[in-house]
């Protein structure tokens, strides 16, 4: 269990390094294309950071409003509150604000910029379908997202991808509206090497946002595995979460108030996915969550 957690954290770190590398490559591509443009990069950085961190700071309010969650009354949802309180003791976390989403599809999410400003929501469907130990496993998974600062990690990743996309966008515009001819005049370099570099730089600019997006999805899946492992370390009872995931696997309902933007917060993919499609391994690159089968297998191996 510890091994898995350590390995997941290492992978996340390497991916973040990869993001930084991607930004550097993209910025370099722009510089190569039209010598300069530092101002553009700085603006792109500032805008991306401002956007991403604005949403990070208010992540709890935004997520709750977006999913139309209502505060969970303490006397009506006694078991839900009790389970959360118990697990917060085990994790050394303050108790987050609790919400309920009125939806028959079983699902849950956690959000908030740090453990002190966290919120946790479950659907009415989840409360109905899961028994005590399964509900506890799901809650432990969600609390682990809070404990591992996953919102922060995801925001950094989104910032990176956003920056890459903005830089690429600016770079491409400059490339098509006059950057290249200026450069050739300045350096007198109009030979074949210059053309190759220009084309390569263009290719990087066009593909970089896409690569960044795939990396973000990969990291999101990694954090999901990490939350599974951390959650089970809290409850010391893998069968609880395994049983919950098995129930989720066999249930095909879709959460109505989820969207692509919020998809990665939920415990399982809230949007429609057809896991029986051929070639689904390629499609899985775009999933925010790993396939339930794989998650169950990993938990069983603990």
């Amino acid at each position: 269990m510890q091994e898995q957690i350590a390995r997941n954290k290492r992978r996340t770190f390497l991916m973040l390094l990869g993001f930084v590398g991607l930004i550097t490559i993209t910025a370099t591509a722009i510089v190569l294309l039209f010598g300069g443009g530092a101002v553009g990069i700085v603006i792109a950085f500032v805008v991306a950071i401002a956007l991403a961190w604005g949403s990070y700071y208010n992540s709890d309010k935004i997520a709750i409003a977006a999913s139309r969650a209502k505060p969970a009354d303490e006397s009506e949802y006694r078991r839900y509150h009790n389970l959360v309180e118990g697990l917060c003791i085990a994790a050394g976390l303050p108790k987050p604000r609790l919400y309920v989403v009125d939806d028959p599809a079983p699902n849950a999410f956690a959000t908030g910029r740090n453990p002190k400003h966290a919120a946790l929501a479950v659907t009415t469907g989840l409360l109905e379908v899961m028994n005590r130990v399964e509900l506890e496993g799901v809650i432990a998974h969600e609390l682990s997202h809070v404990k591992n600062y996953d919102i922060l990690v995801t925001t950094v990743a989104v910032t990176a991808v956003g920056t890459v996309a903005l830089i690429s966008d600016i770079g491409l515009r400059f490339a098509f509206w006059g950057g290249m001819s200026d450069r050739r005049d300045n350096n007198g370099d109009s030979g074949p090497l210059g053309v190759v570099i220009a084309i390569a730089s263009l290719a990087v600019l066009m593909l970089a946002p896409f690569a960044g997006y795939l990396m973000q999805m990969s990291m999101s899946r990694n954090r999901e595995y990490l939350a599974d492992a951390s959650g089970v370390q809290l409850t010391r009872y893998p069968p609880g979460l395994i049983s919950a995931l098995e129930k989720l696997r066999d249930d095909h309902a879709v959460v109505h108030s989820a969207s692509k933007a919020t998809a990665q917060m939920w415990i399982e993919q809230p949007l429609e996915t057809d896991e029986k499609k051929p070639g689904s391994k390629f499609n899985n690159l775009f999933d925010t969550h790993p396939p339930l089968e794989d998650r169950i297998k990993r938990l069983q191996e603990m």
Partner: protein, 182 residues
């Protein structure tokens, strides 16, 4: 040039002392906090019990042996002085509560009583909380003990008397199968 290197080295050493010492203090305080957390949860359970006994008495008045066992166990647990005595007394109380709930199984009217069901939920989660509090205490002790033994913080630990802490152990009674008497 040499002066610069010396200054840098001194600063690094001071940083090590500062951060290392604070890290040890933080972990040791977490151990102490976790220990009192266990007490908080045990007391919470004590407070729930009188209400439970009264509710069950309303339906199963002649199960006197079971009630007495619970009430006595609770009194012993609240009066325990040393941590070892307390742990043992609390285990006895857990056993008595299990018997009480087992007895309640035979009374369908009681099982349908909303008050009883609420108390059952509260006591189940009490047991969970006590278990989690002990788990968190042991996790904290593990983290603290590891840090004071690891290099280089081991140097600080011996310099400033950061001593090893004991884990919380389940008493032998707790690991034996529970005897349920009807």
């Amino acid at each position: 040039m040499v002066a610069v290197i010396v200054v840098v080295v001194v600063v690094l050493i001071l940083l090590f002392f500062w951060l290392g010492f604070n890290g040890l203090v933080k972990r040791r305080n977490q151990v102490d906090n976790a220990w009192s957390q266990i007490d908080v949860q045990l007391k919470r359970r004590h407070d729930l019990i009188p209400n439970l006994v009264e509710t069950v008495k309303g339906y199963a008045a002649h199960e006197r042996g079971t009630f007495e066992a619970v009430t006595n166990a609770r009194a012993n647990a609240m009066n325990a002085q040393t941590p070892a005595d307390q742990a043992q007394a609390e285990n006895v109380l857990s056993g008595a509560l299990k018997s009480l709930f087992a007895v309640a199984e035979a009374y369908p009217d009681l099982k349908a009583n909303q008050n009883f069901l609420n108390l059952q939920e509260e006591l189940t989660s009490s047991e969970d909380r006590i278990a989690y509090a002990r788990q968190f205490y042991n996790d904290s002790v593990l983290s603290y003990n590891t840090k004071i033994q690891q290099f280089p913080t081991v140097i600080l630990a011996s310099m400033f008397n950061f001593d090893k802490r004991e884990f919380f152990d389940a008493a032998p009674e707790d690991t034996a199968p529970v005897q349920v008497q009807f």
